[in-house]
Amino acid sequence: MRYRLPGASTPATWFHKPVQTLINRAERLRNNLMALPPGLYLLLFFAAPSLMMLFASFRYPGEYGGLAPWYYVEDEQFSLDFTLENWLRLFESSIYLGLLFKSLGYALLTTLICTLMAYPLALMIARSNKRFRDLLLLLVILPFWSNFLVRIYAWMIIFSPQGALTIGLNHVTAALGIEPISLMFSSTAVITCLVYVHLPFMILPLYANLEKHDSRLLDAAQDLGANRFQCFWLITWPQSLPGIYAGAILVFIPSLGIFAIPDLLGGTNGIMIGNVIKQQFVESRDWPFGSVLSLVLTGITLLLVLLAAKLGRTAGTDNGK
């Protein structure tokens, strides 16, 4: 929003210019002040911790956890004690990078499934009668009323070998002559739960986007002879891309770093990079290596978010708006 004095765009009278400059300055100041809280937030809770971890990643772990001192004074000789060991360990064998790729795969698959499931639902809610919309949205966020871990434990019961689902499925597999399957402690269980937990984060931004679409565009397209598929593919879909990118970021990032779900449901093979990071900070008390892994994960996440934000912006300007 830019405040303009009436007539400021017409050839200026003698006082218009300085006043306009003053207003511009005030506006800039206001914008800067507005950016201050989020800037401070980022500095305090993102930049500063990341720098601390960068520092930690070149140090040795302490005797009983924590970090070893980064300098020694011996015989009045001051010496630094830094190491590249933690970073080299990352490349020592392919297992850490392999796990990172596997986790990226899980997160990507989760995002994809969430998109496929959320899109029809969000579209349905956006086009439903106004009276029901709030109720339908409430139903989407209803699961948040119970604790995240409680919901995961509920899935553990559903997936358990003694659960009705597994027993039922295994009746079917037995009839088809296939080996009985186990749902619990598998990557299927992990991805199912990742999708379940993150689905609302895809539905809500998509709904917010779809709800704003101008229905007259669809009418016009129909008048011009577009069939229903063309209406969707040429009008609705391109306009909804910013919503998809926003939802994808909200789903992808948390599912990439999650450790609780793979811990509880993943068994011996379903673990993700988040579990190994948690393991370094908690069980192994190896903060330096944990920092290395966290920084790598943060770096990859940042890159992907920048990419998504860029895509979202292009999509937003190219289409519809």
């Binding site: 005797e63 009983y64 003694q162 008390r285």
Partner: protein, 352 residues
Amino acid sequence: MKKLLCCFVLCLSQFALADKTLNLFNWNDYIAEETVARFEAQCGCKVVQDYFSATEEMMAKLLAGGGDYDVVIPTQNAVEALIKQGFLLPLDKTKLSNIGNTAAGYMNKAYDPGNVYSLPYAFTTTLVGYNENKIAELGIDPADWSIIFDPAVLAKIKGKVTVMDDAEELFGAALKYLGYSINDNNEKHLKEAQAVILKAKPYWAAFNSSSYIKELTVGNIWVAHGYSSDMFQARADAAEAGRDFSINFVLPKQGAVLALDNMVIPKKARDPELAHMFINFMMDPQNAAELTTIVGTGNPNAAATPFIDEDILKITAIFPTPELQAKLETVSARNAKERRLANKLWTEIKVR
């Protein structure tokens, strides 16, 4: 709905009565509710419990500055580390009138000479709990570590086995299976143990230290590597639930990890007075006996023996015979370099 309401009222009452609170940091399933209730009645205070399921987890939380607990129940090697860190408050023996009840054999150990900082609470062994019917049906010998490490045996119970999510315990078991000491820090031996674990891993359902009691009791898994006290509870739970199978547990013949857990007071404790009261309370013969009769731990309290059922005293996995005792080892504290190697091998196991 009624339950919900009850929960709500309980939550409220917690705030209302919280004038005196004992913050206890304990192993999960390691104290009987009856005992806690009695202590609360006696001291007119509220006991708030936090739980851990692995020594490393507890150490990480304490050393990262988390939680100012009044009493912590660490295992002997952690006591040693906590003393060296200057984390503990020396105990005031004048406030501990029941101290004489503890059997002399459990006092004055190398990890805390003279019991300046710690007093024994209970002990457990880490062993194998199993579904008696299934294991008998399959003709597997449960009293041998091969039940969780030998692929030939595991092939019969694939996906029905969980092992502890704990480097010390799992490496300890694997080293014993190979005939080494659990405190072996020889890199070659540790790598051999890692190889054994990696070969067995595809047959395991999960690394699990916190919910194997339930999984065994429900029948989801047939073999679990875990603490003797937990297996005792799994057995009782299965019997109580009237399952069509029974749970039992046994010490593997190669020997196993013995964990002597202790009561300590951190320097940061909010109420050391109450903490001493709790320690003294737990050394009372009757209260100590409940650790065995209800929780199923081994008991260092000599005066408690008359209060323990004959049947439990006969379970060798809880009260090992002298021959078995000779094969049990306690874990010693590792130094940073040794810990680093073990952790690296452990991380590789988890990731592969």
